[in-house]
Subunit: 195 residues, 2 copies
């Protein structure tokens, strides 16, 4: 048994470790309690269900994904078209890296995405918002054709499905995936550029 | 027992019927033989394996999909941009209709697509070829910006993943799917139009 009082953060870290070992299907609250040397009642005191626990792990994991993404695209010197190209390229690269380097947590994210969980919906809203902001800048500055930035952001996201949706993770291992993504990004940007 | 000699076409029709009833996982060669009132040896004489039989059913099913598609886009009066819009709209509509109206055969197609079977690969080649032909016409006539029609056809197909890939069939039931598809098609066409 551990000496320190048990906090939510410690439980989330332990769950992350268990998920990495066993994957989303086989992880139980009891595994987490066992790793921490506490009763499963102590875990339930912080998280009312296995689903709540899994959601907390993915929330923290997606926070890191969003930090990586924001760090990758904060160069304000670039024009909106170059920023949009950079944003999409980074969105794809960050997702591909997570799928490759952290397959068990990525599998957990896939399960939550399939269930349209709160976390997965708020992550989608974040991505759409990032795209919408660059589109709006580009329209305001005359780089992009006038459009409804909200609707255009959704179309850009939908056209990127193959490179972003976790159901396509098997394709991301193809040696051509980078060239295919670059080609779709160019098609999208050509479609938005002011005439 | 049936009186007439057993031909491949009859076996394929019976298999289609069994697949519609039981779905791809539960259908066996024995079910097909039973429906025809023959021994399973008689079925194996025409098709060496359950996989070969399933592939034959999907080949015939995809032939019908391709006929529907060719019928939908044969209006040669239209300009290449309008033909491309029509082709993509029809490609999506035909696929959505099959998923909705023929769910068990569609599930069989999903299994074959996931296994990258010969039939699913040759169907992809057919779709890419249809797109490539319209792109090449549009480039030749000056409606589209100069490009490599082969590579552009691939980018157009990849940008359409959400509306074509059977893994996205659950989204096709959304009331917004038609508007979302139209918006991506417009983005693609704007990207290709000559400047």
């Amino acid at each position: 048994m551990r000496g320190e009082p048990l906090d939510a953060e410690t439980i989330v870290s332990a769950t992350e470790e268990v998920l990495r070992r066993h994957g989303p299907e086989k992880t139980t609250v009891l595994d987490v309690a066992r790793l921490l040397g506490v009763s499963h009642g102590s875990v339930y005191r912080h998280f009312p269900s296995k689903a709540a626990l899994r959601e907390a792990v993915i929330r923290r994991w997606l926070d890191r994904v969003r930090e990586d993404l924001v760090a990758a695209v904060q160069d304000a010197e670039l024009t909106p078209p170059d920023r949009l190209r950079g944003l999409l390229t980074s969105m794809f690269a960050v997702k591909w890296a997570k799928a490759r380097e952290d397959p068990e947590l990525f599998a957990t994210f896939r399960v939550l995405a399939a269930e349209h969980s709160t976390e997965s919906r708020s992550h989608l809203a974040f991505l759409l918002d990032q795209i919408r902001a660059v589109v709006a800048d580009g329209v305001a500055g005359g780089d992009f054709e006038p459009c409804d930035p909200e609707a255009t952001a959704r179309a850009v996201y939908n056209a990127s499905t193959r490179f972003l949706d976790p159901r396509h993770a098997p394709e991301w291992q193809s040696p051509e995936i980078e060239a295919e993504a670059a080609s779709v990004i160019s098609l999208i940007l050509d479609g938005m550029r002011a005439r």
